[in-house]
Symmetry: C2
Subunit: 374 residues, 2 copies
């Protein structure tokens, strides 16, 4: 993997870059679409590639349980299995495993820290994490080494180091201990990777929650190691202002010569605030999940719901002048009907539109940075 910086803004930390991978180029800043099971819901790989989605995020945890990383390896790797010729990034599996323990980011935030780890679901040791398959109850032991092995079998262009995801509500001592262990796990991930590089790249994950000093310490340690790039992970705060505050203070400590990725954030308002901070890539299932509920993104960072009565007779595209397949061929009125009739075609067409908006908005950000507007 090679990272070029084409333009560095003089106004902000924003930059335009290009990540070169064995499966092609990723222009940055960019949005990374999430296809958990090796498919973006309702769309097939060629449709996604033709939309111009340069990097796709697949979840190691889900693929480990179904169909299994070894089966995908036998099929020639994830690209060949799902017929995607463009780059793929996989996560370590850690996020989903710890989501099981804490019940997901949103519900953990809501619980105010009262929810405790369910010992039957997950057990954390220095070596790794025990968890139960939600598919068949099998006990599975995930370690830095086994996560990297699975990601090797999947053959992603970019892999992510195995980390611990401590909850937002945790005490200082636990957070510090978790960070130290995460650093040990990430070093082990790197060692496992470097033993068999296989033309893949490996990102570290910067942790420390909303504790700025811990975040900086994490940046310092991880940037001393030969990772190919950096994810910003762990708890990003309880709301957007807290996240932006943390990133504003931490981004100056993230190495600029390597690409970085904000894990799990990809709504348009957050992206707008993060790009001037120097963030390169963003993954989120938001644009496609929103689409499946009829929420239509517009290129001006707004959205509306096409199932609302006032669009019943809207004989125009979802967004005027939009060049996406959906807007070129179907009206908001027809989309509303398909949603109300519970036709999955509605979700597919809305997903195509929302992903197209993400692709065009990101290209527009790159132009603005290059033109000195950001």
């Amino acid at each position: 993997m090679k990272f070029e910086i084409l333009y560095q803004s003089k106004k902000s930390r924003a930059r335009v870059g290009r990540i070169h991978t064995p499966h092609g180029v990723i222009d940055t800043p960019n949005f990374v679409a999430v296809g958990t099971n090796g498919s973006i819901k309702g769309l097939d790989s060629l449709v996604v590639e033709n939309l111009g989605i340069q990097l796709m995020f697949c979840n190691t945890y889900h693929l480990l349980l179904q169909p299994g990383s070894k089966l995908i390896q036998q099929a020639g790797g994830l690209h060949r299995f799902m017929n995607r010729t463009a780059p793929i990034i996989t996560d370590s599996g850690g996020f989903q495993v710890f989501s099981l323990a804490y019940g997901g980011v949103a519900s953990e935030l809501k619980s105010q820290g009262t929810k405790k780890t369910d010992a039957s679901v997950v057990k954390i040791t220095e070596d790794g994490v025990w968890f139960k398959s939600y598919r068949n109850g099998d006990k599975i032991f995930l370690t830095p080494e086994s996560s990297i092995q699975a990601q090797k079998e999947l053959g992603a262009d970019i892999m992510i180091s195995f980390d611990e995801l401590p909850p937002y509500h945790t005490d200082q001592q636990s957070l510090e201990k978790s960070l130290e262990r995460t650093h040990r796990w990430e070093k082990r991930s790197l060692d496992a990777h470097l033993a068999n590089p296989n033309h893949q790249a490996l990102y570290a994950v910067i942790h420390g929650g909303v504790d700025i000093n811990l975040r900086k310490k994490s940046c310092e340690y991880l940037s001393s190691l030969p990772f190919d790039g950096f994810g910003i992970g762990g708890s990003l705060g309880k709301n957007k202002p807290e996240m932006i505050n943390m990133l504003t203070q931490v981004m100056p400590s993230v190495p600029t010569e390597r690409p970085n990725h904000l894990l799990g954030i990809g709504d348009l308002p957050s992206i707008a605030e993060c790009i001037p901070l120097g963030l390169d890539t963003f993954d989120s299932s938001y644009p496609t999940k929103a689409a499946r509920h009829g929420t239509i993104l517009t290129p001006d960072n707004q959205h509306y719901n096409v199932t609302r009565t006032r669009f019943a007779l809207h004989q125009r595209p979802l967004v005027d002048d939009c060049t996406c397949y959906t807007c070129q061929n179907y009206t908001a009125s027809y989309l509303q009907h398909l949603f109300r009739a519970h036709e999955t075609t509605a979700m597919n067409l809305a997903s195509i539109h929302n992903l197209h908006v993400m692709v065009t908005v990101m290209a527009e950000y790159r132009r603005k940075i290059a033109d000195g507007e950001i």
Copy 2:
């Protein structure tokens, strides 16, 4: 509408024909795909048109309740609403209304005639049928005239006369009375249609259940009227042999110079037996419904389920040498994974394949008839 017969088999009643409609040609024999709500589940109109589906079946009953035929008329008709440029056929709404009364064909057959009409759902008078909207409980009165009006608003190329669907388990007197009323309703449908032809065509529906004499009487009466074609409807028997027996005896009484359509039957084995009897078109949701359960059709009239374990590592297309989009781009192994991961993309890709098989199998039947093989 114009119907040409290009070849009449000397071996059987099979023929190759061509129906000319305002939205283009339908080659016969042909399969008619069912898109109940103005969309074939999981696929959009352009995909369906590019698959070569020359005639699509939409259900007036469903479209009346959502979004309403008047809204579709305001949108410029069903073709424009759903962006289909090729021919569309709509039914009268009667079938669904009577299915509510008798609980559907399959469950009525199973019930051995013990299930009685639920008076709260439907009330039949000489004038028409009262039913309750399943969406909002509104009471709606459907008559021959209102059905034709709705189909005029939808703007289908081919409309179907309003008829009564008596259950399979009925006594001779009720069946005869029902047939007489159906004939009166069909005549009223024709009169309503001819008052405003609007470049649309209207098919009669031949009734009489499995009573051959009543069927012949129905053929005689309906062929005396200027309908553009004939559907074979009502109860077709409790199994395929009974249906084939009925059709074998009745088809010689169906006028040959006008096209005919077998309502609701479209599985490959039935089509194979019906073509030599002189049937022209067949509608069924079977190929797409089967696809959504992982059942893959093959061009030799067989099928298999791709979710079975032995296809887990089948790194080949669903059907070798198949030229469909799905088989050209994805493996059976990947499709199995998508089904097992509950990804709707699996259903979409399998539907594309199964519809492609229907299109190619029907083209092959036309070739065989023209070549004197059937």
